[in-house]
């Protein structure tokens, strides 16, 4: 299995990442971590608040898309920055998790490029002998 939790990919106009995990749960957590790392310099984010995240999807790809999209939406709607998300229950078509972070503070949080949305572009989730792997591109 890949030792890195994720790697960043280039796209002509936007950006993406590959995430890895020994289990499907770990894959979802690392994909969330990749997403957060694009949003903000994570070193400065403290875990002072948490939010429960629950969403559904009819296959692995749609479920990962929905999970990341929901994390992005909750952060923006509540003006939070997250640094970590734990998956607490993962069924074939449903994911439940908890995201940890704090209110966005312009003075302390160096924001990266604003992510508008998660896309289905070349999105895949696959399992091999080494573990789980996913590719995601986001719209900036």
């Amino acid at each position: 299995m890949e030792k890195r939790p994720f790697e960043i990919l280039e796209h002509p106009a936007d950006i993406g990442f590959r995430a890895y995990g020994g289990t499907r749960e770990e894959l979802f957590e690392n994909a969330a971590l990749a997403l957060f790392s694009l949003t903000c310099e994570l070193g400065a984010v403290e875990e002072r608040e948490s939010r429960e995240i629950e969403t559904t999807g009819s296959d692995n790809e749609t479920l990962l898309y929905a999970w990341l999209a929901e994390l992005l939406a909750v952060a923006e709607a509540e003006r939070l920055v997250f640094r970590r998300a734990d998956v607490t229950a993962l069924e074939p078509n449903r994911v439940h998790g908890t995201a940890y972070g704090e209110p966005f503070d312009r003075a302390r949080h160096e924001m990266g490029t604003h992510i508008k949305a998660v896309t289905f572009h070349q999105l895949f989730v696959e399992q091999s002998a080494e573990g789980w792997r996913a590719q995601v591109f986001v719209d900036l």
Binding site: H11, A13, A73, E76, A77, G112, T113, H114, H121, L140
Partner: protein, 490 residues
């Protein structure tokens, strides 16, 4: 791998055909508008493959079209245009994009360039331009997490979603004539706020009057060159005049509407037996329950974008008056959308029909005589406003009959990216880039480092070349070129 150049048939110097036979499953040809130089850039990414994928959409009418600013997007290429039959064709949220009704509006002032270069009344060693740019930067929030000047309640938001620019004008953010000078009068009446999710409303509720980030900006510009004096006169533009260009969209609300419906449609496509080469192209029949729900939500998000640009216009006028005096006027020349799907009446294969025109990074450009443009402009055609990259130039064009005949009355939307954001940042720093622009007479205020580095002019195609193609292809004519003096962005 990108499609090879040998797959393209040259129709003339500016038109390239990808025949329907190129890939099994294409329902029509694709046509790319570009000159040799732009085509070489376009062939460097997957954008032509994306125009080919668009040709797979059920019920597509005419050809899958792409403008010279085209570059790789998600699903549709940016710069892509496709129309579908209303009876059995599809609607694709990917053909509109995440930023529903991203668009531009141009305000023309009664000031000349010199007025902004004069010394500030209080700080004698700086020009008024700097004071103005600072004021605009304070009054018009930009960047991630920015809260707007007028947060609305959820019931008020539903009103915004139903009424668009008119909501803002009725609440004191604008002048009565402003809505007349917007595409669709600044509101699609088909909006259905009940189809917009609570999550989308949560994201948008505090964002009215904010620019957002990425390539969105507000620029103080001047009219550098007039190409067609008679038409410029009708639009009220003359050389040396100070104008303002506002480029932004529906913010988080629109992004969430697209996000929600991409999921819905990906799950519903099986039901309608639709298979496509790219899931981001997800679509459903436009008359289906899911299709109608999307179109209602999309129209609501479009209205939010018009209200947003209207509120920003109000705060821009106020900032100008505060710095330059109460006699300053900023008249709305026109407001156009460049991410939208709309039912329009067009001539298709010798018949006239209502069709659903998707414009993904492409601008409506209706010809003279159209009832859908303000009566003051009907004798010459619709003003088409094309923002260039940061610090270069923007253009005002006018719509032509050729575009009505060939491209469903559509033209390009900007310069179009030529370099990835990561590549743009490599080896560049904010101080040098800002100073480079200042040396060219452009003052820049940005909320973030990435907002500057990712948008450097070198990351984009040459706007003059893009405009040259659409002008020579006869899709729109050059009326005026605008040069930036001050930029604020996220």
């Amino acid at each position: 791998m990108p499609i090879p150049r040998s797959a393209l048939q040259k129709l003339d110097d500016l038109r390239w055909l990808v025949p329907r036979s190129t890939r099994e499953g294409m329902r029509t040809d694709a046509v790319i508008y570009a000159d040799e130089k732009l085509l070489a850039q376009i062939l460097g990414d997957l954008s032509i493959d994306q125009a080919i994928n668009v040709a797979f959409l059920p019920g597509i009418v005419g050809r899958s079209l792409a403008m010279p600013d085209m570059h790789q997007g998600y699903g549709f290429p940016i710069g892509g245009v496709a129309a579908t039959r209303l009876s059995d064709g599809v609607v694709s949220p990917g053909g509109v994009g995440f930023d529903i009704n991203c668009g531009v509006r141009l305000l023309a002032s009664n000031l000349e360039r010199d007025a902004l270069l004069a010394r500030d009344d209080y700080e004698k060693n700086v020009p008024k331009l700097r004071t103005l740019v600072n004021q605009l930067f304070r009054d018009i929030p930009s960047g991630t997490g920015a809260e707007g000047p007028i947060p609305v309640t959820f019931p008020e938001l539903d009103d915004v979603l139903a009424r668009g620019a008119a909501w803002a004008v009725d609440h004191g953010y604008g002048e009565a004539s402003d809505t007349e000078y917007c595409e669709e009068h600044g509101a699609l009446p088909s909006a259905d706020p009940s189809q917009v999710s609570h999550r989308a409303k949560q994201r948008g509720r505090t964002q009215l009057g904010t620019l957002g980030s990425g390539n969105h900006f507000l620029e103080v510009q001047y009219v550098e060159k007039i190409f067609e004096p008679a038409t410029a006169n009708v639009f009220g533009l003359h050389e040396g005049q100070v104008v303002v260009l506002i480029h932004c969209g529906s913010r988080g609300l629109g992004h969430q509407v697209c996000t929600d419906f991409l999921k819905t449609m990906n799950e519903a496509m099986r039901k309608y037996n639709i298979t496509l080469p790219d899931r981001q192209l997800a679509c459903v029949p436009s008359q289906s329950p899911e299709g109608q729900a999307y179109l209602g939500a999309m129209a609501a998000a479009a209205n939010f974008a018009w209200a947003n640009r209207q509120v920003i216009t109000h705060f821009t006028r106020r900032a100008f008056q505060r710095i330059l005096g109460d006699a300053v006027r900023l008249r709305l020349v026109y407001d156009v959308a460049h991410n939208m799907a709309k039912t329009e009446h067009h001539r298709v294969n010798h018949d006239e029909a209502d069709i659903l025109v998707h414009r993904k990074g492409a601008t409506r450009c209706f010809a003279a005589g159209s009832p859908f443009i303000p009566s003051a402009y009907r004798g010459v055609g619709q003003p088409v406003i094309i923002p260039g990259s940061m610090g270069t130039a923007s253009y005002v064009l006018v719509g032509t009959q050729r575009a009505m005949d060939e491209t469903f009355g559509t033209v390009c939307h900007g310069a179009g990216r030529a370099m990835s954001r990561t590549a743009a940042k490599r080896g560049r720093n904010v101080r040098d880039e800002t100073q480079k622009l200042e040396a060219q007479g452009v003052l820049l205020r940005s909320e973030t480092r990435d907002g500057i580095l990712e948008e450097v002019p070198e990351a984009y195609k040459d706007i003059d070349a893009v405009i040259d193609v659409v002008h020579r292809a006869g899709l729109a004519r050059r009326v005026a070129r605008l040069k930036p003096m001050g930029v604020i962005k996220g």
